[in-house]
Amino acid sequence: MSKARFIKDVKVSERHGAGEWTAERLSALILVPLTLWALWGAAQVAGEGYEGATAWLVQPVNAALVAALWLVSLWHMNMGMKVVVDDYIHRPASRLTLLGLSSLFCLVLAAAGVFFIARVALGSEPMPAGFGV
């Protein structure tokens, strides 16, 4: 291990802990205004049915903010679940498997969510149109 470095008498992480710490705080900070906006948006969409929900999501600002909220949330929650798994699961094989599954879950949700948002926001025909059906 390399020689320990200190900044203002605080030991600098020898591996990657500091980057994770910053990423957790940064994503949390971004999510504060986005979450408040999402609550406001949810109240507008609730009970408005298919027409109301599409009319809301077809607006570019709403679609862009939902996509941003979606991706930053998944980034944040993947890191959060990593902390939980690191805390409670000690067998390396189980821990790595769970971390992999969690990241896969988040990646699938990210891809699927952005795809659905784009479909609705671009005014595409309801699925499965365009898939040869």
Binding site: L29, A38, L39, A43, Y50, A53, G113, R119, V120, P126
Partner: protein, 154 residues
């Protein structure tokens, strides 16, 4: 590297009968767990923050279903709305609303502490009560408004 137990002096020092063998093979005193600590609201705040975070993790899958239903058109969206509006669906949504509101306040609380402010026991306690209050009052207000405006009916 051998992983033999190093149960030397530590185990012989055990005057509590609570020493355990750690996963690395060493015998160490069992650290005090939840039931040993005197309860304090900052504990509740921290535990709630983790629990609501885990709830939101899985709650996002339900939001993904909402997006999916929206992309698949009227029929699938009606099906999703029927489930959302059922008593069980409403219970899940109200639970997720509380999780979101509390996790938001708990996160801000955490950011304040990370900035080095309000770390005295007295301030930490009031900040925690404030975030729990925000979660409860925010959730009640949100749903009271949804029901009062007729957007959601039982």
């Amino acid at each position: 590297m051998s992983n033999t137990a190093q149960s030397g002096g530590d185990a012989r020092d055990d005057q509590t009968g609570r020493f355990v063998r750690q996963p690395n093979g060493r015998v160490r005193p069992l650290s005090p767990h939840l039931q040993v600590w005197r309860w304090h609201v900052t504990m509740l705040g921290s535990i709630l923050n983790r629990m609501t975070g885990i709830a939101l993790y899985f709650g996002l899958a339900i939001v993904a279903l909402w997006l999916l239903a929206l992309a698949f058109g009227q029929d699938s969206y009606d099906l999703f709305s029927r489930f959302s509006g059922s008593p069980l669906g409403l219970l899940i949504w109200i639970g997720l609303t509380f999780s979101l509101m509390y996790h938001l306040a708990g996160g801000v609380r955490h950011l304040i502490w990370d900035g080095g402010a309000m770390l005295s026991p007295k301030d930490a306690t009031s900040l925690t009560w404030l975030s729990i209050g925000f979660g409860v009052v925010g959730t009640v207000a949100f749903w009271a408004w949804l029901f009062a405006s007729g957007k959601v009916q039982l």
